[in-house]
């Protein structure tokens, strides 16, 4: 019961912070709310006994990626005055696509039955040892493929960032 209450608090915090990401006027505040949102999602992982996933989520997303994003936003100096006037066309397009997505989601929710929330039974499936064993035995090929993908991305960014000799 208490874990259910905790879940609802966490879930509402997640949704509210995600909404603030969209509705904040200042991009810095958006980034801050997004970091908070990542924390609440990490909280969900902890509730599912996936401690490793939770902490990696915090390290990678909140600790590294959002720092870089914040970095960029800070350097861009996005003030209201310098923001160019946008035409209403993208707004309409956004409303229509967003509305369509909502329709799809509502339809999906309507046709499926929502089960009662029950806290998962204690398992150590999300612990480091279990995750490591799974990755390096059952999912070795996809894991190695992702690392190749990452190396390709890294080399690509180095090539792009390199100064042109001319």
């Amino acid at each position: 019961m208490s874990s259910q209450i905790l879940f609802f608090i966490l879930a509402s915090l997640t949704i509210v912070s995600a909404l603030f990401v969209v509705f904040s006027k200042s991009p810095i505040y958006s980034v801050m709310w997004m970091i908070f949102c990542f924390f609440t999602i990490a909280g969900h992982y902890v509730m599912l006994n996936a401690q490793f996933l939770a902490i990696v989520h915090v390290i990678v997303y909140a600790g590294a990626i959002m720092v870089l994003l914040l970095f960029t936003v800070m350097l861009l100096n996005l003030n209201k005055e310098s923001e160019p006037h946008k035409s209403p066309l993208p707004k309409f397009a956004a409303i229509i696509t967003g509305g369509l997505l909502m329709l799809v989601l509502l339809a999906a929710m309507h046709s499926s039955t929502l089960p009662e929330y029950s806290s998962p039974a204690f398992s150590d499936v999300g612990y480091v040892q279990k995750v490591g064993t799974k990755i390096f035995t059952e999912f070795l090929l996809p894991f190695e493929m992702t690392s190749v993908l990452f190396i390709a991305a890294m080399i690509g960014s180095v090539v792009l960032a390199k100064k042109d000799k001319n």
């Binding site: 490793f52 915090v58 390290i59 600790g63 914040l70 970095f71 800070m74 480091v128 040892q129």
Partner: protein, 354 residues
Amino acid sequence: MSLLIFKSILILTLFLVSLGIAAYSTYAERKVAAFLQDRIGPDRAGPYGLLQPIADGTKMFLKEEIIPMFSDKWLFILGPSLFMVTALMTSAVIPWGRSIEIGGQVYSLQVADINVGILYILGIVSLGVYGIMIGGWSSNNKFALLGAIRASSQMISYELAMGMSVITVLLISNGSLSLNSIVESQGEGKLYGFINVSGINWNVFYQPVAFIIFLTCAFAECNRTPFDLPESESELIGGYHTEYSSMKLGLYLFAEYINMFISAAVISCLFFGGYNFPGIDYLGNHLPMNIVSLISVGVLFCKIFFFIFFFMWVRWTIPRFRYDQLMRLGWYVLMPLSIINVLITGALVTYFGN
């Protein structure tokens, strides 16, 4: 006494101890600086100047608080608060000593023995940069922003080498990420397989390279000289805390000393056996449990104080790096070195077993 009450008392004690050590680190820093420069140092407030930190704290509290007009007020307040919170959070997973026994029940001197302890520390450390970045940006000052950018890029760069050096420690200890079991594994077994003294099987004897890399990265993560580029006063006035005054500045300076205390504790736990000391098992068999626990806590704190002294020693000995030198050291030296170290250790562990 229930577990919850014990943990609450432990957390409160840790909080007070962290603040106390941070306060007296400022005093120690001045005394060490004075010693290294052949001066006397603070000696006016109280005997040997021992009341100096209290005088400094009072001064910080009573100073006028200025929030710059064109700064973002909320973020300006959030910056130092976040920095302080992240600095205080890391002490939760450090095992401070052997378990103690109160009223027939055994309590471990660790707030939370979580399964991913060392990753938790790395995660919280990587969040510490937000306090600096937000503070630096919201000051609406070019120097502060430059300091914040330097701090964040420096911390991200050195985190990688730091993580890599931790991996080698994990490879040779019993394969758990929990700090408690890392410390415990250094208390059992023989050093190099033949020196049969309990509690001296420390990781530093197997991984000196990883230790040096970790120590260097700890300096960079704490923004300490020789890597205090984010606040280098000769270039950036005060760096990210240029616009801060009163207790907000105090929080930034204070949190830096807490970070130093925690990194000293983490270094002791990872490489110097934590609360283990030579002959711990012998004492454990002959003395009551609680006394041995207290001795182990004392030993850990001795190690911590040594490393805090080491931090100060380096600060007043080595001049500051230039920023490009700092980046070059991080990416061209420490990073490849730590990767090679992981590869060699991995190969040796695979070949010989543990």
